[in-house]
């Protein structure tokens, strides 16, 4: 970071703080370490392999969608329909697999459905020029209503295919398949954002849409791509979730959109567009899921799973605001 060298060395502990201030994700890394340390002191089983895998699997579900959401937010848009789409996609995936008896067909159906939702969102935002916050709230309503028109109750697993169960619960070597999928998605989106023209254009678009348009970027197409990518990633997650639950649940994913957005913003991605990183999103997801896990392991009332993240999101954003401001002085 070029700016870290401009900070004047301060005496004593201030120096460490100053060095930390140059690292964009410093607050989150420290927070994550503190959380892990504190929880493992209170409950030793935190560091058991089974528990770590549980945390990673939970994180994978959020991270896959959060990767798409990060791209969208960097481009200056947002998608609130991901939770509703997740539930619908799960039902579609299970239904398609039941009817066809084939896992690839089910997976394709999930991706096609969720991708189409993303395309719809993207077209409404780019062609009809509806603000993405309101457009995706509307899509959320349509999907929430639509899923009940599609199925009144959970779509049960009637095919009992081992490969289908494997998507959520299986392992490849020592690694759970959802975690591997998340890692692949993470790597792909990371490279796309950091090392391709698509990424550079997306940052440019979010930072200044007018300048981006005037310099000849295909703004609409870029935004559309962001929505479709997010949609497809919801498809992947919907497939994993319905495999894990062994049913397509119309009520699944309620509030999921808020968790995803909280993780992305906690990771330092700006709501105003143009600023953000996928590494930050990864840390944001891990912090939220370690907190969730800690609450279970410490046998606290599970309702704290709503309270604690709420406080953490606000506190971390505040620390980040302070850090950015101090660096700017």
């Amino acid at each position: 970071m070029a700016s870290s060298s401009q900070i004047q060395p301060q005496p004593g502990a201030g120096r460490i703080a100053a060095a930390m201030a140059g690292q964009p994700q410093a607050v989150l890394i420290v927070l994550l370490l503190l959380l892990c340390g504190a929880i493992s002191l209170a409950a030793a089983q935190f560091y058991s392999l089974a528990n770590i895998i549980a945390i990673l699997r939970q994180s994978a579900l959020v991270l896959i969608v959060a990767a798409g959401m990060t791209t969208l937010l960097i481009g200056g848009e947002v998608d609130l329909s991901v939770g509703a789409s997740l539930a619908f996609t799960g039902c579609v995936a299970m239904d398609a697999t039941n009817r066809s008896g084939s896992v690839p067909v089910g997976a394709l159906a999930a991706l096609a459905f969720a991708g189409a939702v993303g395309l719809f969102n993207g077209l409404v935002v780019t062609r009809l020029r509806v603000n993405s916050l309101i457009a995706t709230i509307a899509t959320m309503m349509i999907l929430q209503g639509g899923v009940y028109l599609y199925t009144r109750e959970a779509v049960q697993n009637q095919h009992h295919l081992a490969a289908f169960t494997g998507i959520g619960a299986g392992y490849l070597g020592a690694f759970p398949i959802p975690v591997l999928l998340a890692a692949a998605v993470f790597a792909a989106v990371y490279i796309a954002l950091r090392h391709t023209l698509f990424g550079r254009y997306t940052y440019a678009l979010g930072a200044n849409p007018i300048a981006a348009r005037l310099s000849g970027l295909r703004v609409r197409r870029l935004k559309l791509a962001g929505f479709v990518i997010t949609g497809l990633l919801v498809g992947v997650t919907g497939l994993i979730l319905c495999s894990l639950m062994n049913a397509g649940q119309p009520t699944a994913g309620r509030g999921f959109e808020l968790t995803v957005i909280a993780a992305v913003i906690l990771g330092g991605t700006s709501l105003a567009g143009g600023r953000g990183s996928l590494i930050g999103t990864l840390l944001g997801v891990l912090v939220l899921k370690v907190i969730d896990n800690g609450i279970i392991i410490l046998r606290w009332n599970q309702d704290f799973q709503m309270v604690v993240p709420g406080v953490v999101i606000v506190a971390a954003t505040w620390l980040d605001t302070v850090r950015v401001r101090r660096r700017a002085v």
Binding site: V130, L133, F304, M306, V311, I313, T321
Partner: protein, 321 residues
């Protein structure tokens, strides 16, 4: 006729014109499609149902106009019912219960406003955090059950269920009075001017000598207190503090506010537009229910109408430029 042309011009020139036409179209459609829609009883019922979103919407619109966002109202609706019912059960006094509810709402507003306006934390995050914390707090306190109203005060029952002159539900009366008061404040008092200035261009407002953080802070407090009023009315209707009350309410309110032409980027919007947005969505939900459509269709059609209305508005705006 010149008079009707005048009326038409006023309708199309004012930003609320298209919304009013949209509302009339919705009402007209359902009046033709259903025999029972256009009865006094049904219309006043809808106004009663719309009043909760209307009250909370006034506050959310003010916060939006000041250039910030407030999505905490859904959880606040459930949270304020707890002190209301608990204090009322303990003291048998409606006034003390309402005071306790307003105290909690005020504290939430002060916290939101302090964090967002003075510590300058992004307000979507702050109020998202409050949304989580309050809902979690409600679940923790109630153990995920409803707290029934044991005092059984007639005045408390009347608050949400009674009707002025036997016709207009009290919540609708309260919403209307609050709407008129705040529309006057926003249009004709310094506070309104300050809010529009702070949201329109905060730097210019600051240089012009306005205390921008204080204006935004006030907006959050007003918004929380208005959501509290809605929460009190809802608690009276439900006759208890229900832990799942107001789930997703924030989305309804934000949708209505934006549908009503309040800009998400601050500085633009009117409370009458917001009110029309609320009414359109409420009449739509009611009318669709009367057509014996499955309730799920209500969500689908409402979503589609929001997209249609906002894109039409956007289309009109671009044509004008």
């Amino acid at each position: 006729m010149p008079q009707s042309r005048n009326l038409l011009r006023v309708l199309t020139r004012r930003s609320e014109g298209p919304l009013l036409l949209c509302l009339l179209a919705v009402i007209g459609f359902f009046a033709l499609a259903s025999d029972t829609f256009l009865s006094v009883r049904n219309i006043t019922n809808v106004l009663g149902q719309a009043s909760l979103a209307m009250m909370a919407g006034i506050g959310v619109a003010i916060v939006f106009i000041s250039g910030e966002v407030d999505v905490s109202c859904g959880s606040l609706l459930a949270a304020v019912a707890i002190p209301l019912i608990v204090v009322m059960n303990a003291t048998n006094s409606l006034a003390l219960g309402i005071a306790a509810a307003l105290a909690l709402g005020g504290v939430v507003g002060v916290v939101n406003g302090f964090l967002a306006a003075y510590l300058r934390i992004n307000s979507l995050i702050v109020t998202l955090g409050t949304l989580f914390v309050l809902r979690g707090g409600v679940y923790l306190y109630t153990g995920q059950t409803a707290i029934p109203d044991d005092a059984g005060l007639e005045s408390f029952f009347q608050l949400g269920n009674g009707r002025l002159a036997g016709v207009l539900p009290y919540p609708a009366v309260a919403a209307l009075v609050l709407l008129l008061v705040f529309a006057y404040v926003m249009g004709h008092r310094p506070f309104g001017r300050h809010v529009f200035a702070a949201g329109g261009n905060p730097d210019v407002a600051r240089l012009a000598g306005y205390d921008v953080p204080r204006i935004k802070f006030a907006g959050f407090v007003v918004s929380a207190l208005l959501a509290t009023c809605a929460g009190i009315m809802l608690a009276s209707r439900l006759g208890s503090a229900v832990h799942v009350a107001g789930l997703g309410f924030e989305f309804q309110v934000v949708a209505a506010v934006v549908l009503g032409g309040v800009s998400l980027s601050g500085g633009v919007g009117s409370l009458f537009g917001m009110a029309l947005g609320v009414l359109i969505l409420s009449f739509l939900a009611n009318g669709l229910g009367m057509l014996d459509l499955a309730t799920e269709w209500q969500l689908v059609v409402t979503g589609a109408i929001i997209i249609a209305a906002v894109s039409f508005d956007e289309f009109k705006r671009r044509q004008k430029l």
